[in-house]
Amino acid sequence: MAPVASGDAFSAAQRHEIDKAIRDAETVCRCEFSVFVGRSEGESRPFAERLHATLVAPERSILVLVDPAAKLLEIVTGAEARRVLDDAEVQLAALTMQSAFASGDLVGGIVQGVQQLAAHARRPQVRHEA
């Protein structure tokens, strides 16, 4: 069983920082962002996909799961989000986050990762192809 929670994970300022990164990202691109920080129950990938499926609009949502205890990171993109954000770009953002986490910067890694995902997803959709 998990040990009893010993208070909040983030300070108010850190929480605000993450909230702001998510809000900014959602204004940059048309995807919806969701960041889960905590223990994943069971296998991390299915758990992340289950979390993703419970979101309001999974199709155009991007879920970032960070498990600081297991040092795991999962990013799930919905079908519509995947059209503007392919897996290689997600992998790049994941690498950015991993290096920040490895240096012990949990909040900074989340903020950078969300920003990078949004920046890649910003790519305008091509309407006319030559």
């Binding site: 009893v4 983030f10 289950r50 999962e74 079908a79 989000a81 392919d86 994941a94 690498l95």
Partner: protein, 138 residues
């Protein structure tokens, strides 16, 4: 060569005395006002009691020690909550003992996942191929 420098040189002797006089004239009211005012001539009203001299220690206590003390107390009260919370928040490298936190998640939080797990898992399997993403470890 242009004749601009000559022109300005010719006009300057006429203009500078005029300027000087104007500047002096403008100074007169200011000088008058400042020279006429002196220290206040009024004496203290008779009704005012003479409380006698205060000791410097008393003056310093009232004017310095109490304000500085209040300043320190208020500063301490402002910073105390954040100083205390610092130890509670997650420090990198420590094992995660906190509750899960979900930013931008559904209202029910993780509890909502467990309750709706079955139907969504079934419907989600249809789209699982369209879903993308990446995994990582550090």
């Amino acid at each position: 060569m242009t004749n601009h420098p000559a022109h300005t040189r010719r006009s300057s002797p006429f203009r500078s005395p005029l300027r000087r006089v104007t500047a002096l004239l403008l100074l007169v009211p200011a000088l008058l006002v400042t020279s006429l005012t002196g220290p206040a001539f009024a004496e203290a009203p008779v009704q005012w009691e003479d409380n006698g001299p205060y000791s410097p220690l008393y003056v310093i206590t009232i004017l310095v020690v109490i304000p500085v003390g209040l300043f320190a107390l208020i500063t301490l009260l402002v910073y105390l909550p954040s100083m205390m919370r610092k130890n509670e928040s997650y420090q990198p490298g420590r094992p995660w003992r906190n509750e899960s936190e979900w930013f931008g998640g559904p209202r029910g939080g993780v509890g909502a996942v467990d309750s709706t797990e079955q139907p969504l898992a079934v419907s989600g399997s249809d789209h699982s191929k369209e879903r993308g993403g990446a995994s990582g470890q550090w």
